[in-house]
Point group: C2
Chain length 377, copies 2
Amino acid sequence: MAGVLILGATGSIGQQSLEVLQNLKNRGYDLDLIGITAHKNRVLLEKQKERYRPRVAILTGQEAGPDQGIEYGSGALLQSIYRDDVDIVINGLVGISGLEPSLAAIESGKKLALANKESLVTGGPLINELLAKEGSGSLIPVDSEHSALYQLLQGHGKGDISSLILTASGGPFFFSSREEMEQITPEQALRHPTWAMGGKISIDSATMMNKALEVIEAYWLFGVDYDKIEVLVHPESIVHSLIRLEDGAVLGHMGIPDMKVPIQYALTWPRHEGGEFESLDLARVARLNFYQPRWADFPALELGYEAGRRGASMPVVLNGANEEAVTAFLQGRISFLEIASSVGGVMAAHDPYPLTDLQAVLEADKWARQKFEEEVS
Amino acid sequence: MAGVLILGATGSIGQQSLEVLQNLKNRGYDLDLIGITAHKNRVLLEKQKERYRPRVAILTGQEAGPDQGIEYGSGALLQSIYRDDVDIVINGLVGISGLEPSLAAIESGKKLALANKESLVTGGPLINELLAKEGSGSLIPVDSEHSALYQLLQGHGKGDISSLILTASGGPFFFSSREEMEQITPEQALRHPTWAMGGKISIDSATMMNKALEVIEAYWLFGVDYDKIEVLVHPESIVHSLIRLEDGAVLGHMGIPDMKVPIQYALTWPRHEGGEFESLDLARVARLNFYQPRWADFPALELGYEAGRRGASMPVVLNGANEEAVTAFLQGRISFLEIASSVGGVMAAHDPYPLTDLQAVLEADKWARQKFEEEVS
């Protein structure tokens, strides 16, 4: 019996995690839902509590409230991670607030199924330091590209790998001219070609900042140098990522885009269990297209490599400035192309320092957001 | 130090094996060329002997001859397999004559790097029986599709696999109309779109009998049922094969077509070693296409499944009749479409019997060839 805690249960990853968990239980998997957490969506949290019967339900956006079997505050969330009956923590939180729970899960010896990008992007050194400690937990990635890489690396030694290849859809503007890109509205940018996603991540996909963050994640997850992480544009999003072997061959992980597949794999690893998933029919897909990234027109991608290579607090600044820039773009305060240029501006003004603890991460994040405001206003 | 014996050294696989071996030795691999064999090409065998300095060189097409450090006859070939200093046997022989050496290699505890298709197609039950015995050798496939599957299966349990997907180029006539196919000349059929190959295998590729034989090979190599072996047409031959996982995802092995890659992998397994190989650039390839096979127009493929499912001596009959049919087509005695129909005719006349030993295989083969002659003349 493995106990599962779902952080961010009312978000996209959280909701799908609950479905996957239920399916696996129906198939006889010995899993037990211990807890669910939400930030503000009390209505859905209560519905989920009713339907899936977790032992604990937590609302972090309030410090107190009517009881009704609900606990309140971010302290309650952290405490739930340390519960003895929790074995697996699915971190589906959004933003840098996901980092502390990730650190707590690893520190307390749990298996962390990680969908929160910011944990590794901003706290990579802290997470890897914890993972290396005796008695620590483990980490398995949940997003589509890194799960693909994780699966492909099974059975292949690190010495066999010449590089990792992250695929990118290229977003809705990969085929747009530079002139068209100058006029992009928030409404256009929110339409993603293949994955249905939330606002922030859709804009990140349109700027390719999403892939920049994933490059940094891959660096921390798989311990390969940045010059061994490639990005390949593949508009159909059928090939989720690839690994290049020393003998020139390339192994690819393909599938119909469905976040439930990597979520389930994180729970059933190293098994690939059946489910309600559509099986990929390549003859029906008929054609897969691949392109080099347009580096000059999507400068966010290069910023990711630059932040990663400079290391220390620089990726935190990249991430914090980008969050502010996306918000400013959605508010109509800056243009689409100014998202990357303003993030680059904040990075240029930053003097990176080592990330010794969580506090150092949060300070760099705060600095980046303030600096962004200064630059823009 | 591993001693290597190359059977069929003057053929395409043999010549490339010698190059791979030399490259690996140059890279510091502790390999020693023990022997090379050829059937009739004395001139090239002598050149190879001069250049690569094996301890023994054997010409099997003659029972005796001038000495010059060369041994003669198929008995000498079999003896060389049993040598104590031989650890790895690369079987690059063509035709059913490759079966006995394969059995000898496994029986004597060697690692068999198998490129001879007929060994598994005709002798699958005998080979698997031997492999299961204590003290027996091992088998690693050398042809491109099965090496791809073998590599993809590393790190994934059999319970995770929903099916194996063999890719097929479709040959030069995959886009031809039925009317055009009735007029195909040997000259047209010898032109393969992506791989440069010998005559027999080029015709097999054009009829898709090649893939039919590979389906049977996959059955014996990987122990999966025929309804879990799919065929997918992929004209670029970049994706060498794929595995379908229980969760609907598909893993693929891709690369620039180059037989040296699977040959080297068979020698360096489980490592993927570097070499003089071109690395796959998917953005340069730009586009991969996939199609369902045209089952009705390429009936050889269905014959492969039928022969495999009926089992016993039927695959031997498929193989023997096809060899005769290809020869008859190249001689202008039958048309392109008659290759498959005449093989089907011979199969229909065959009452399959169990393959208890090598003799039973050779008898079924002989029967099929005679039956073919009866049917055609």
